[in-house]
Subunit: 328 residues, 2 copies
């Protein structure tokens, strides 16, 4: 029986999620850079989810959700700023299911091309959550598709959380114990999943979220104790222009220690450092975790920190424009 | 006793080189991409030497050479278009030795910055081999430095060849046997080293070099049986604008099956595919091996191929200009 999507996910769902998706996804590398350690004053390990299937951790949640579809599902649909759409299209194609992705017109071309490349149909919409959801409802009425939401879904949260199980295992193999796991937060699927995993596996390890100051609804929700949903996000980190989900908020309140914010310049600087020092072509959203270490130096000094590099899908012709906006 | 530099290196020098540099260099990942397999019609593994110390395989040769310095060496010097200079500067700094690097004015700024970052002195010169060597001789007269040549040196060849030992080991771990090892050739240190390693370790495996058509002295030398030294190289692959060395030519004749050439468009296309599909920020020279698989499709179809991604040091602000020159 598939779990009731209105239920909250549990730590056990993360462990079973890892079983569901084993063999479907990559065990991505965990890497480090002495230069970035020196620059940041911390000991940083990077989990390379930009090397995951479809170039983002989102493959985990999509693969898990598609292993748990209601009987009789004939098609799937979602809304997504990019990587979840590509992940769902990829997972659906592997099962021969038609897939429709509602995408804001502001999504990077590389992400649109990926969704189309996996054979899904793209339906354009405006950038707000309300516009995404109303367009998605119209698609469902027309196609009868089963909706796999991008983050506010127990199967998705549990799937994304599997990355934390690998991080803990790989840290053990490399002989270190992280003090902190840092992950970007947009809709909160990844951060909630990591929170659940760590609550069961390593409750002493701090789980901390990082988000752009221009999309700080998760920080304000967590610190204020009230779920904020009305923000219009403004950030270069296109993967984080989403609003914290309801289930995600509830799980994060229980399992995540804090959420810190970073500046736009900080994101570009961190991205450039990751490119030039680790030679990893990560997208802006993926640089937010390391940007937090750089911008909140005192808090993270000398700590052992595992950071999730969440994705690597970006429009290369925008690269030099991005880099020109801020010095090293 | 350090070996006589006028001697040719042997397979045994590669094995002892691996001992000399163990713990100093990284064991870099060996990765693959289903998308690039589909696109190329081959089964391709990429050895990530752009993730090596100093961002290039050159760290191997430099570390090996500096473990074998003549007694009484007070300083080291070299000429280099970039990565060997950075590698020597890095290895010299680790031993507290002063280092001078003669660099052509056409070298990428990122590579100049790396050399300076490791504390070496840069002396500029013209781009030809004759200009490099005459400037280096002047440096030696002034400083008494011991010269560690960029490629025509037994210690360097043996050090670069250690990458092949790792490739064979990692392929075994991943349960496959390559038919071919493909590596770019400029001065020929890497290719000669790989040839020596494979001659001892896996003589059935084909070792094949790849070079830009605008710098095809190695192919013409190998195919014609006469060492060609007078070419003026023209290529975007700045790391391969060198002339095949004497020792390198001799070793390559004995151990390398063939050298193929690739077009400039082919290099940019391969580089773009590596960036977008594997998310690895490799420099133009590093894309030459995969460009060969794409441009010589029939020859490599369905083969199991290990390709060395040689480095990841490039000027990011040149990126969009490079990509604009050719479509995907």
């Amino acid at each position: 029986m598939p779990p009731d999507r209105n239920d909250l996910p549990t730590s056990a769902d993360v462990f079973s999620g890892a079983q569901n998706i084993a063999g479907t996804i990559h065990r991505t590398p965990l890497i480090r850079s002495q230069q970035l350690d020196r620059l940041s004053g911390a000991n940083v390990w990077f989990k390379c989810e930009h090397m995951q299937k479809v170039g983002a951790f989102k493959a985990r949640g999509a693969a898990n959700a598609l292993s748990r579809l209601p009987e009789g599902t004939v098609a799937v649909a979602t809304h997504s700023s990019g990587n979840h759409g590509a992940a769902l299209a990829w997972a659906a194609a592997a099962r021969g299911l038609p897939c429709t992705v509602v995408m804001p017109e502001t999504a990077p071309r590389a992400k649109r091309a990926a969704v189309e490349g996996y054979g899904a149909v793209i339906v354009p919409c405006g950038p707000s959550l309300a516009e995404r959801e109303s367009t998605l409802q119209a698609v469902v009425r027309q196609t009868g598709a089963h909706v796999v939401p991008p983050y506010d879904d127990s199967r998705i949260i549990a799937g994304q959380g599997t990355v934390a199980l690998e991080i803990v295992q790989q840290c053990r193999e490399q002989g270190f114990t992280p003090d902190v796991i840092l992950a970007p937060v947009g809709g909160g699927g990844l951060l909630a999943g990591i929170g659940l995993a760590m609550a069961a596996l390593a409750p002493d390890m701090l789980v901390i979220g990082a988000e752009p100051a221009g999309a700080d609804d998760a920080q304000r929700s967590l610190r204020g104790g009230v779920h904020i949903t009305g923000q219009k996000p403004q950030t270069i980190a296109d993967g984080l222009r989403t609003t914290l989900g309801r289930r995600n908020y509830t799980v994060i309140r229980r399992t995540v220690r804090d959420i810190v914010t970073v500046s736009e310049n900080g994101i570009v600087r961190a991205m450039r450092l990751l490119w030039t020092r680790t030679k990893q072509l990560v997208e802006p959203s993926a640089a937010v975790g390391f940007a937090a270490v750089l911008e909140h130096g005192a808090r993270f000094r000398n700590k052992h920190i595992a950071i999730v590099l969440t994705g690597g899908n970006l429009d290369l012709d925008r690269v030099s424009g991005l880099l020109a906006t801020v010095g090293e």
